[in-house]
């Protein structure tokens, strides 16, 4: 047994003419926190969706532990139950309360008894600090609260890894803070995470590795210190300068 939680090998995905993912490989070990950043439209989200097999790659392999997900006849539903996914636009189930949102897969995918599902859902909601929204519908919550429920929905199943696709970029700067706090807590607990984000102060604080992604491929990887001080590639340099300026303004 290795302690590799997830691995991508030479993953490719093309949309008509656009190559969103070109030969991307990545290894994530237990407890890793990796952060992918780069210009919008460069294929980061597509890559993340490929990791969860929500988008099926054209070629390459995705491993969850020792299991190859890209092999035909793999039970993807079972595999996805072990992966938490947090969406940029949240996508809470609109017909259910916060509790219902978190409970749903516990009851019907993990098939936990009613009482246990409820308790686990409540614990997850408490962990992300939205206990006051338990019985609220998504439309009755703020964006920040919704996204924290989204995170609770992902962590309640105790997944091996959580994939987060720009969890804060659809939120006001004010609301971003509370979501970042939640992610920081998860990081402290040693949750394995692969995050697409441009929150640089957060990246600097929690990420072990940052991955600069542009035009469908990984351009450069390194520690936050590496990127903040002297990234090698010109593209990464330019991007960092721009994004640090923007962060300062905020």
């Amino acid at each position: 047994m290795t302690d590799t939680v997830m691995e991508a090998r030479d993953v490719c995905k093309k949309y008509e003419k656009l190559e969103a993912v070109k030969n991307v490989s990545m290894q994530i070990r237990k407890g890793d926190i990796k952060l992918i950043f780069g210009p919008s439209g460069s294929g980061k989200s597509t890559f993340l969706r490929c990791m969860a097999m929500l988008t099926i790659p054209d070629s390459g392999e995705i491993y969850l532990g020792d299991q190859c997900l890209t092999k035909p006849a793999t039970d993807l539903n079972k595999a996805r139950a072990r992966i938490g996914f947090v969406f940029q636009h949240i996508y809470l189930f609109r017909h259910l309360t916060a509790l219902g949102n978190v409970e749903l897969s516990l009851k019907h995918v993990l098939k936990l008894p009613k009482e246990e599902a409820r308790n686990r859902a409540l614990a997850a909601l408490k962990e992300v600090n939205v206990s006051d929204c338990v019985n609220k519908y998504p439309s009755q919550m703020s964006g920040g609260q919704q996204q924290r429920v989204g995170i609770a929905r992902a962590i309640a199943r105790n997944p091996d890894i959580i994939l987060l696709d720009e969890p804060t970029s659809a939120l006001d700067p004010e609301l971003t803070g509370e979501v970042i706090d939640t992610l920081r807590d998860l990081a402290k607990e040693g949750t394995t995470m692969l995050i697409v984000s441009h929150e640089m102060p957060f990246a600097r604080e929690v990420a072990e590795e940052m991955i600069f992604y542009d035009q469908g491929t990984i351009v450069e990887t390194g520690t936050p210190a590496h990127f903040f001080n002297h990234p090698n590639s010109e593209r990464a340099q330019k991007f960092m300068t721009r994004i640090i300026k923007r962060t300062m303004r905020e």
Binding site: L54, N77, R94, P138
Partner: protein, 216 residues
């Protein structure tokens, strides 16, 4: 026979009118929902749905009722020779075709994201459809469902031709008996108005409230 007696006689047909339309409505949901999802998510077999919709939306209910009741009823006395069953059955088939279209619009309106979110949580596609899409689709569709129900109340009058003793048949009997076409049919008109719209409107209002809650 005075107006009062006429009214009472006609109203005695109400249970049949209601039960035909309610059975047809529920059968319509049971047929329309799966058809709509097949149409949207199972492209390979969606032509079957297309054919079904074309046939049952295109053919007059009268043709179907006569065909089923006297045609099929001749060979399969059970159940088709039973006019009540046949009336509800035929309208259910027709309603299924209509409702399939109503639901399809709702599925498109709700979008794929809800389904993807559920699949990311380990649900299979059809599990996600059942637990996440169906409740939303039903709520989203209430305005369309309301008018479909009104249509069914109205069309239940066709059951008259195969001899179901619902409101319309009673009006016809009375008009023959009394040689008066004005009074029985005027009262019948008022009864239909009174039972059709309140239900459709209530459904719409209920749906509006629910939709607001869901932010749809």
């Amino acid at each position: 026979m005075d107006v009062w007696q006429t009214l009472i006689y006609l109203l005695e047909g109400l249970p049949l009118t209601f039960s035909i339309s309610i059975i047809a409505f529920i059968s319509g949901i049971a047929i329309g929902l799966p058809l709509a999802f097949i149409r949207v998510y199972e492209k390979d077999v969606s032509f079957v749905v297309d054919a079904y919709e074309k046939v049952f939306r295109g053919v007059p209910e009268l043709v179907l009722m006569l065909l089923f009741c006297f045609g099929l009823g001749y060979y399969f006395a059970v159940p088709f020779a039973n006019p009540f069953f046949t009336a509800a059955f035929v309208l259910g088939l027709r309603s299924g075709a209509n409702q399939s279209q109503i639901f399809r619009g709702a599925i498109r309106g709700i979008g794929d994201e809800q389904l993807i979110a559920a699949q990311s949580g380990g649900f299979s596609k059809w599990q996600a459809i059942w637990h996440v899409m169906v409740p939303q689709v039903l709520t989203y569709s209430t305005p369309g469902l309301g008018s479909e129900y009104a249509l069914l109340i109205k069309d239940s009058a066709y059951a008259w031709v195969i001899g179901v003793l619902e409101i319309m048949k009673r009006a016809e009997l009375l008009s023959v008996q009394t040689s008066n076409l004005v009074i029985p049919f005027s009262i019948t008109l008022l009864i239909y108005v009174a039972i059709t719209f309140p239900i459709a409107q209530w459904l719409d209002r209920w749906g509006n409230k629910k939709r607001k809650k869901m932010g749809l």
